[in-house]
Amino acid sequence: MREINVKLITEKVRDLCIKANTDLGEDVLQAFDRAMEKEESPLGLEILKELKENARIAREENVPICQDTGFAVVFVELGQEVHLVGGSLNGAIEEGVRQGYRDGYLRKSICHPFSRLNTGDNTPAIIHTEVIPGDKIKITVAPKGGGSENMSRVVMLTPSDGVEGIKKFVVQRVKESGSNPCPPTIVGVGIGGTFEQAALLAKRSLLRPLGNKNPDPELDQLESEILTEINKLGIGPQGLGGRTTSLAVHILMMPCHIASFPLAVNIQCHAQRHKEVVI
């Protein structure tokens, strides 16, 4: 067994919260460049330039890319040979979020559903833990903004809807979301599993770097077909018209029940933020 003190987890989560919110990934910046080559709308082009400039300012001045610094979604891959000491895993992550959002001057956006009273420190975090072989811990912090999350949906299709049913629902969801989720978006799609698993697959699909192909050729093809349809909609950057409505469609799939055909669409704004560390 490898012993790890949870204090180290707190420290890493703190740093990841700040880094994710201020330093937009190179993969996203390159996706902006690719979009600029294809964008036909002059206004759309201006907006894409503005997003690049915004990312540059945020990185150089160490300030948040977007004021919505999100719900702290944390993915943990915990090696089963790790023995955690000094406290609980979830407690350490929550403390890291608390410190990161305080020290990074990030917005606290979490509140009571009825009273809307802010929890004050951006906790609780949303923590997804998976136990895997090995003696390492991988932690990914993916802050998720409210505007794009609000446009997301889970639907239980029927098996007879088929692949066409998936395409239709995803494209329709993007169309109906219009300008709300801050296009250009990244569309996370989860297919199969159960009601809650489909949603988790959709969210997890967003962690794949932009520009990386889906390793499953069938899904790779489906992603490209859906993206083509989405970018025919004309919604464009910020919904003001143009070619670039989405930068990518990412799909994760797993088997489902013989009676079911679950589908989840998790819409991600262009501020596609996630940072990871391996301890």
């Binding site: 036909e40 709308s41 002059p42 206004l43 201006e46 907006i47 503005e50 997003l51 400039e53 915004n54 990312a55 300012i57 945020a58 001045e61 300030v63 948040p64 890319i65 977007c66 004021q67 919505d68 610094t69 001057y105 990030l106 917005r107 606290k108 956006s109 809307r116 802010n118 409210g146 505007g147 609000n150 219009g178 300008s179 709300n180 989720p181 801050c182 025919k232 909609l233 004309g234 919604i235 464009g236 910020q238 919904g239 003001l240 018209g241 143009g242 070619r243 704004c269 262009h270 501020a271």
Partner: protein, 185 residues
């Protein structure tokens, strides 16, 4: 594409009438911030026949909940939030003299009708460009509802805040027109 137009607040009915969808505008002067919870409170005050904490005649409200300012910074990151959540409150504020709103995303028919009837406009700022927009804010102070944290109403002095006219007083909507222009098939 046309050059941006500089606009100074407060706005008169005549100022607003000159604006048309697609115009790129640089806002200068005083604007106010307000989003979900602050709108609920302003709306309740008006319904009860009481005064608002600021005079909204000729003013612009920016739908934003900023990040906390870092030491040495005037204002934290400050991009727009999605506007449809303010649709229930906006028509009454427009009726009482509000001339502009800055946000992102499409407005309801009731809001568009109020803009047309009472001469007001809706501007879009680039969602997610919070770091860039913050640099155009030169002064900031809380005027009401400090307990709401990022949702408190703030009075901002802005210099060349870049926005785009999405809804004008003639009932045009750039979200609809833009999408139509670039739709394929």
């Amino acid at each position: 594409m046309t050059q941006p137009i500089r606009l100074k607040t407060p706005l008169s009915g005549a100022d607003v009438e000159l604006l048309k969808v697609g115009d790129r505008i640089l806002i200068n002067g005083i604007i106010y911030t307000g989003r979900d919870a602050a709108h609920q409170r302003l709306f309740d005050l008006l319904k009860e026949g009481r005064d608002l904490p600021m005079d909204i005649k000729g003013q612009i409200i920016y739908y934003v909940g900023p990040t906390p300012a870092k030491p040495g910074q005037v204002f934290g990151s400050a991009g727009p939030t999605t506007s449809y959540r303010m649709d229930a409150y906006a028509p009454l504020l427009i009726e009482r003299g509000l001339k502009g709103m800055i946000g992102k995303g499409m407005r309801s028919d009731a809001v568009k009708e109020a803009m047309r009837k009472h001469k007001a406009v809706y501007f879009a700022a680039t969602g997610g460009a919070g770091a860039l927009l913050a640099k155009r804010i030169k002064k900031a102070e809380i005027v009401a509802y400090e307990d709401l944290g990022p949702e408190a109403i703030r009075r901002l002095e802005v210099e060349d805040l870049p926005v785009i006219v999405v809804n004008d007083v003639r009932g045009n909507d750039l979200y609809i027109e833009g999408e139509r222009r670039y739709r394929k098939g």
